[in-house]
């Protein structure tokens, strides 16, 4: 679901190989293997899925994932399509007795008054703060249960009703019928029931995702719904099931006087609202659901001086001026001297963002550095890759890196130099403890590779450097364990062998949306696009803007780091706005023709909000026509569902060597190549949040941007 398998992910080859093992016609399981691709675009993965004549493409309308998945949950619950015994296990003791490794919170009781919290033993008078389950209608501490607990039940205590998580989930899923969901998803009637039936009756069912369902304003709940579907069929950490946990090895640089960040982050993420008024004027994001921060909120906050004014900005190998949906806010912030008075960028190329910064500190290429790389989900074993430069050289004594290009330094070396200049502890002489100096990248990583899971540091004769990393044996006999009577489990469940899996998320349910003051919901919701106040968009917008923005990715491009490679750029020299042949007929256009397009908020480009960017807009976006309209060249293809306007997100560069972003060094214009800037870029077309007006729609729970589904108006030129 929304997973561009074979064309994306780190590394894409791994999952492509897994897929081919099943789909290949000579494999004995090929005819039994059904790969269903739920995606608005017929991806390369869908091309492979349909090859054996069994697989299927479900062209879901973007943003409607929640309706599809909650519809599946509804069908599975109503038609006994879930593993009842597994879901009624209340604790580890019963799980072990019955031959399971993990169990769920489906039988735990949750209050029905907001904030909806788990019922605790203390509340019932059983004396502890742990979860409570019902055994034949009587409350009991979850850990004291000897057998299965009541699954679909409720209990009244002091006039408040407490329901099991399963009942809450069932009631949530039953808020809409399957027919209603299918109408929202715009798919043939009966699809959800058929897929749910085939899924729940399969020998090894698994549903997985990548960015598709989660990079949306309802992304958090979509991801949660997908995990719940896997839990209903008991396939978490199972052989042939859904593996949540890849795990990497980890080292450490030990020091006693390490500093920790404190205060409120500039993107108001990872914190509860701390203002004095009852509600905030800008969104805040929970530290539980948003572990990494919210970049679009950073740039919008900075322009408004919220919650404080920005003094300096250091950009490291990131290109938000190009990659950020609704990037006019990013560009305007970088151009506005009052909002961002001092800006630095560490970058290997003169990318769009670096070009707008005051100082650029040239980095070596990303491969040309000391460091490490953790694993990503497709890798089932414990891994850590060691990265060493190959072009430059190290001073044998000081281990200072010497680059072959003039004036370049490895990114880490720049950061360590800055840290030393700022007098930060844990750097410089004795930075890593007595006798351990941290003066450069090599010394840092040598120390990192000497602790915890590693030893020996960057010794060139050690196995770490010789092998290029540390790798667990991936042989099949080490990958699965048969110690459980209910079936085989993987040996790599993210580091924890035994665990409880949570359907209901109390930490989300007890977090308040700062802009409304209302508690969020602990279970997935039937939602499409919502704004920062969790309200749906005005339906009138869809009437005026009937098409939907959508993006796609080519297997041979990243977003902002490959178009300046002319070899890769030559595979497909430009991108097109891909539309369905039905829409092409409606618009009266064919492949190669031009259309103009605008979004509900693109007219803001001409307003005072973006007056600095507006001076450059014709340079950066030569296809801008004014009044919010952009022109695009279309390609009609049945690989896109009707109603979409899909653009590959690697083209239309105005930096990194494109003539659209010319730059000078020592008064001399630097070379550029028009092939780098070919094609179209769509980020200024993203719809701004109708409440905030200066930021792309962002998931109020999980902090993800609404990466597709922006309503668009498309007209023939």
């Amino acid at each position: 679901m929304g997973s561009n398998i074979t064309a994306a992910d780190y590394p894409m080859q791994t999952r492509a190989r897994y897929l081919q093992k099943f789909g290949k016609r000579l494999n004995p399981d090929a005819k039994n293997f059904k790969h269903v691709v739920i995606d608005p675009r017929f991806t390369n993965g869908a091309a492979k899925a349909t090859h054996n004549g069994v697989g299927e493409w479900v062209p879901l309308k973007p943003t409607t994932d929640a309706y599809f998945m909650l519809g599946m949950i509804r069908w599975m619950i109503e038609n006994n399509g879930y593993k009842r015994e597994y879901l009624t296990i209340p604790n580890e003791k019963v799980a072990k007795k019955k031959g399971y490794r993990n169990w769920t919170d489906m039988t735990y009781l949750v209050g029905t008054t907001k904030p909806m919290k788990y019922l605790t033993g203390k509340d019932v008078g059983l004396g502890q703060s742990d979860f409570v389950v019902l055994i034949n209608g009587q409350p009991k501490m979850f850990q004291e249960a000897d057998g299965f607990a009541d699954l679909d039940a409720s209990y009244v205590l002091n006039g408040v009703e407490y329901k099991t998580v399963f009942r809450l989930l069932r009631e949530r899923a039953q808020e809409h019928t399957l027919a209603e969901s299918e109408a929202v998803c715009d798919i043939p009637a009966g699809t959800i029931a058929r897929i749910a039936q085939e899924f729940s009756s399969a020998k090894h069912p698994a549903i997985e995702m990548f960015r598709g369902p989660v990079q949306q304003s309802n992304g958090w709940y979509n991801g949660q719904a997908l995990c719940i579907i896997n839990m209903l069929v008991d396939n978490i950490d199972r052989k042939g099931g859904f593996i949540s946990g890849h795990k990497n090895y980890w080292g450490d640089v030990k020091a006693n006087n390490k500093r920790k960040p404190s205060g409120v982050r500039a993107d108001t993420a990872k914190a509860a609202y701390q203002g004095k008024k009852p509600t905030a004027t800008r969104p805040w994001y929970s530290g539980y659901a948003v572990p990494r921060g919210v970049t679009p909120n950073f740039f919008s906050n900075v322009r408004m001086g919220y919650p404080y004014k920005n003094k300096a900005y250091l950009n490291y190998y990131n290109d938000p001026a190009y990659t950020m949906p609704y990037n006019q806010e990013t560009i305007e912030a970088l151009l506005d001297v009052k909002a961002m008075p001092l800006t630095f960028s560490i970058d290997a190329y003169m990318g769009e963002t670096s070009a707008l910064c005051d100082y650029v500190l040239p980095d070596t290429d990303y491969l040309e550095r000391v460091g490490g790389f953790k694993t990503y989900p497709p890798i089932k074993t414990q891994v850590f890759g060691v990265r060493m430069p190959v072009v430059g050289s190290f001073d044998p004594k000081t281990h200072e890196y010497k680059a072959i290009r003039p004036d370049t330094k490895m990114g880490d070396d720049i950061l360590i130099t800055l840290a030393k200049e700022c007098g930060l502890p844990t750097f410089g002489k004795d930075g890593g403890g007595p006798g351990v100096n941290i003066n450069n990248s090599w010394e840092f990583w040598n120390e990192f590779y000497s602790h915890k899971d590693f030893k020996g540091g960057l010794d060139p004769k050690g196995s770490l450097v010789k092998l290029g990393g540390k790798f667990q044996n991936p042989a099949p006999k080490y990958q699965y364990t048969k110690n459980y009577s209910s079936g085989e489990y993987t040996s790599f469940p993210g580091g924890r062998q035994v665990r409880v899996l949570f359907t209901y998320l109390e930490k989300v349910a007890t977090y308040k949306n700062a802009m409304t003051g209302n508690y969020m919901d602990g279970l997935p919701m039937y939602r499409t696009i919502v704004d920062c106040k969790e309200q749906p968009l005005d339906p009138a917008i869809y009437k005026e803007y009937p098409m939907q923005l959508h993006t796609n990715k080519e297997p041979f491009h990243t977003q902002s780091r490959t178009m300046n490679n002319l070899w890769l750029a030559s595979i497909k020299p430009q991108n097109y706005a891909e539309i369905n042949p039905a829409d092409a007929e409606k618009l009266g256009v064919k492949t190669g023709d031009w259309v103009k397009v605008k979004s509900p908020s693109s007219e803001q480009l001409d307003s005072d909000m973006y007056k600095n960017f507006h001076k450059h807009i014709k340079d950066y976006y030569p296809n801008y026509l004014g009044k919010g309209w952009f022109k695009f060249q279309v390609r009609a293809t049945s690989r896109i569902r009707p109603g979409l306007f899909s653009v590959c997100q690697s083209y239309g560069r105005f930096g990194a060597g494109s003539p659209k972003g010319k730059w000078h060094m020592n008064g001399k214009e630097q070379p550029s190549d028009e092939r780098v800037g070919a094609g179209f870029h769509i980020n200024p077309l993203y719809m701004a949040d109708p409440v905030l007006k200066n930021m792309v729609l962002v998931d109020p729970v999980g902090g993800a941007t609404q990466s597709f589904g922006t309503p668009l108006r498309v007209e023939k030129i």
Binding site: H51, D186, T191, P555
Partner: protein, 87 residues
Amino acid sequence: MSELGTFVPDEVLEASFKKPGPKQYTLWVDLEYCVGCHACTMACKGENNTPVGVDYNRVMEIEVGEFKDSKEKPDVRVYFVPMPCMH
């Protein structure tokens, strides 16, 4: 692409191997393995050092069928056909 009738059955293949006389070698690409990543194009380019815009090896993307009505089950197929340069 077996469903399009272009699949060479194993016995035909085996029989051709057993034929007496001089051998003519060919390159057999199993299209079920091709995911359309164009890495072979880049590998050929690296090996033959061709200028930008000149590719000996290419991958064609063939789209079969048409999908225009979202209320009907789509019947679209896409095939990736690497066209090796044979150098």
